[in-house]
Symmetry: C2
Subunit: 556 residues, 2 copies
């Protein structure tokens, strides 16, 4: 389904490429240096020890990584984080220092365990997964891990932390994209409010994957090749008080000649609206002197309509006289829809007055506490904004700051295992399973079907009985026009089976997926559920096991 090419957005150095089938461990480090087998919950190590002591650590096991509910009250979720997971799996190894630390922490544990831990790697492990950047459905395994019980147990927590936030922020970004519409520019501005430095780095990376166009984060740009955008801050404006602070009054034109600039600006000011703030005007002049061909000004420091927009226009007109075209403005406070419309009017009016059509199309960037909901609201208000800079609500996923992926044992020694719970929603679907996406004749996905791995795969044209996982009465027949196999083998006994797609490829996959799903599954309010079904065989298999494992209570 996807073209796979060399990793142009390699996290580690920007130059290393994960090569097909022969990636050595040293080439394949996770992006974040905290990611190693020690980034785990203590109980994973306790359990590995208990498995070791009872001689079960080499038993064959299967674990599923999945989530139970899509985030943000929606019906779609973007799966992301797989490259990092695979880099983690590929580099999984306890260092001597780590083993020494653990040994000191648990001095009574049997010494044989430390030999086991020191030698442990993922050469006996297989990792199947859905493609990164896919739309995924609750309860479908995003990742299936097969291999010895001890090491597979130890992979759990790190895989979860790598998938949970990546998928959450990708989904959040995709929702912002749907809210803004396809033609607007979306910029991630969240670095300062992110949950720690790599909350920020991950936010930049996965916002881009989910459909953003750029980031303010210079490091993320350097690491992943994402476009880096920005203007200037209020502090730049308030640092100036008057024209005497300028180093000189000229601008170097495209012929490398010094042209008088400040006098031109002041001429326009005198002609149009002389009451603007001097410090702000000085700041804009200084900024234009530094970036004559990239002048984009933050205009709300003192008063957007009474000072900022005018000061911008004086500078834009003077730049035009010298042969440069200004880019636009940024609004960071106040009523954004209203201010954008007023600014657009002013641009159109002044452009017409002086005969410059492009003035009407100046880029209006808006920031200040934007969110998915605010984007929808601005749209209703008929805003005139071209680009949105979105920070806190995007990167912290304020509307729902965590995705609840879990990692559950579903088979051991070829026998299915089920986790029963007093909360039915926490019951797991047992055994090794394959996922398929069924499409209708229009090429739209109609549902995802889960079958036992040893069962026949569904075929196009076949009439398939599809069962709700928990409700016996909810059944339907589906006859797909096309069937897509969802799970691929990515890591096979010490080898990566694919080169990593580029970040651009992943972003394109998300875009494509959003284009083929029915709009009612993606919409903001009361979306139509996109269903996960079980094959009839899997349904029966699961429910028989469920009953056999549930104690029958005596009511007294």
């Amino acid at each position: 389904m996807s073209k796979r090419k060399s990793n142009q957005g390699s996290p580690a150095k920007g130059t290393k490429t994960a090569k097909l089938e022969n990636d050595s461990k040293s080439d394949c480090q996770p992006c974040n240096h905290f990611v190693d087998p020690m980034l785990t919950d203590q109980y994973q190590i306790s359990m590995a020890y208990a498995y070791f002591v009872t001689g079960r650590h080499e038993e064959s096991s299967v674990f599923d990584l999945f989530f139970r509910t899509p985030p943000f009250k929606g019906e779609f979720t973007i799966f992301a984080g797989l490259e990092e997971v695979l880099r983690y799996v590929a580099s999984f190894k306890f260092t001597e220092e780590n083993v020494a630390y653990l040994k000191k922490t648990y001095p009574t544990w049997k010494p044989g365990f430390w030999d086991y831990m020191a030698k442990l790697d993922t050469s006996q492990v297989r990792v199947y997964a859905v493609d990164e950047g896919s739309i995924v459905v609750p309860r479908m395994p995003l990742i299936r891990v097969e291999g010895p019980l001890g090491v597979c147990q130890l992979l759990e927590t790190t895989m979860l932390v790598l998938v949970n936030y990546a998928s959450l922020i990708s989904t959040n970004a995709a929702r912002h994209r749907l809210a803004a519409g396809p033609d607007k520019t979306l910029l991630e501005f969240g670095l300062r409010r992110a949950q720690g430095p790599d909350g920020a780095i991950s936010a930049s990376r996965y916002s881009y994957l989910g459909g953003f166009d750029g980031t303010s984060n210079v490091k993320a740009g350097q690491m992943f090749g994402i476009a880096v955008k920005g203007t200037h801050a209020h502090s730049f404006v308030v640092s100036f008080t008057g024209l005497s602070e300028l180093a000189n009054t000229t601008i170097t034109d495209s012929d490398n000649k010094e042209q008088e600039f400040v006098a031109k600006v002041l001429k326009y000011r005198k002609e149009l609206f002389p009451e603007t703030n001097d410090g702000e005007l000085t700041a804009f002049i200084a900024y234009a002197q530094a970036y004559p061909s990239g002048f984009l000004a933050l205009i709300d420091t003192y008063d957007t309509l009474a000072s900022g927009v005018w000061n911008f226009l004086f500078v834009a007109l003077a730049l035009q006289d010298i042969g440069f075209k200004a880019i636009g403005i940024r609004l960071d406070s106040g009523d954004l829809a209203y201010l954008s419309k007023e600014c657009r009017k002013k641009f159109t009016e002044i452009g017409a007055k002086f005969g410059f059509d492009y003035f009407a199309k100046f880029n209006i960037v808006a920031s200040n506490d934007l969110s998915e909901n605010v984007l929808w609201s601005l749209k209703e208000q008929g805003h005139e904004i071209d680009s949105f800079g979105i920070g806190t609500n995007l990167v912290t996923c304020k509307a729902q700051p965590a995705l609840g992926c879990v990692y559950k044992l579903v088979e051991i020694n070829d026998k299915p295992r089920i986790k029963i719970s007093q909360e039915a929603v926490k019951v797991t679907i047992p055994g090794k399973k394959e996922g398929y996406r069924l499409y209708n004749t229009k090429g739209e996905p109609i549902l995802d079907l889960m079958v036992n791995t040893n069962s026949k795969a569904p075929s196009p044209g076949e009439r398939i009985l599809c069962r709700h996982p928990f409700d016996a009465s909810k059944r339907a027949f589906a006859t797909p026009s096309r069937v897509e196999s969802l799970h691929k083998l990515f890591w096979d006994h010490g080898k990566l089976c694919f080169a990593f797609p580029s970040l651009e490829d992943l972003r394109n996959r998300v875009k494509h997926q959003l284009s083929i799903f029915r709009e009612d599954h993606l919409r903001r309010m009361n979306p139509t559920p996109y269903k996960l079904s079980l094959s009839n065989d899997l349904y029966k298999y699961m429910h028989e096991l469920w009953l056999s494992e549930s104690p029958i209570q005596e009511i007294q």
Copy 2:
């Protein structure tokens, strides 16, 4: 006020110590390798360039880092992240590779700027701050940065990302501590749901600072010396189906003799309640064989009261026969208050039946979507829980996932600067200021006072006119018994002025601060505001500048 000693929780290696006055740059790296001058917003670099082009980059400047509203609808905030900020300041340097990347990104910029950037460091910078682990108040500078305009501007974003989340999670942890009460054990279990790997590492570190007792995160334990805690997962329980899976039926006693164990467990089961789940019982036996002296079982996999609590008791009784005392249970689903009370009853009853008093005091650990509000609710229900494992709501700060610290220019070339805004709340307090905490005779803080740096400091016994920053009518006289100076010099022209306190010291400071503030400032519902006031001089100074910088609009 605080004792400062060598850094036993050093992030970098656990062994390096930040030495007083002579810390070399290579010794003083931030904990996260993403933290360097490239972890910044693009506009900081644009602005540095514009300052350079206009010849203003060496002008002397003062920036304040502060927040405007305490998080979680509370009235207190814990300041954290200072050590990381200072490590960042100490190691601030663009590498050749970084400069080359920027140069390639901005090919038209003047070459002199790249020479400037390559040489740039913080040897001309001073950093004043409030002590890490202090309770802080809105608008009081947490950090004041003084030095050349270019470099001080470039420090902004990274400082913000390091302070915002650290302070937020510390405050959240402290609120959980107040909700749980001083005697309960609080464990941070959030790794898998955190916003990325160092969202998790920071959560462990700063939850401990805010009053937690331990973490499940092994890496955080290794890095910071925090106690690491855990039990086992449901997957461990479901991995067993029956007694035939046990490697042997014995336990090694404290005299290193093998003692028959399974038969003893089965004897108790037969005697007490034979209907429990076999797989679960097998799992508990296996776990006890691995940890005979540390047996703590997760009892809700199949049915807490009909299976789990009984299986735990059979194993606990058999362990007792061999000379080991079980530790307790963990509950991870269902009605936690009810289940904890039922389990306590059962422990008391069986303890009495067999004559073991300590059974009544088994440790009951609860987890599963706990939050500050749930802790208060459990308290109302009279729960019997001893330890709480708290994940998602703690580490993602779900109730408010970002703190809004900002970094504002307040002085340039010894002249005050003010940022006006159409939103009054965004107006900054201009000039270089000192903060003082005024105490009453009972040793309780009564308010924080901000004065111009060149004004006289307030003295004990002095009657001081304290002004609301924005509301002229809100004035009060205060006569403090004690006055504490809040700002200390931490970084002075290339030298650290303090060794870093240990994480333990910081945690103790938080504990102490929470003990001296009046309870009504700390309470959960409708807390009494703890006020920031300005001296009369500062108030007048600010408001005169505000008027002089605000344009007077013409109403047409």
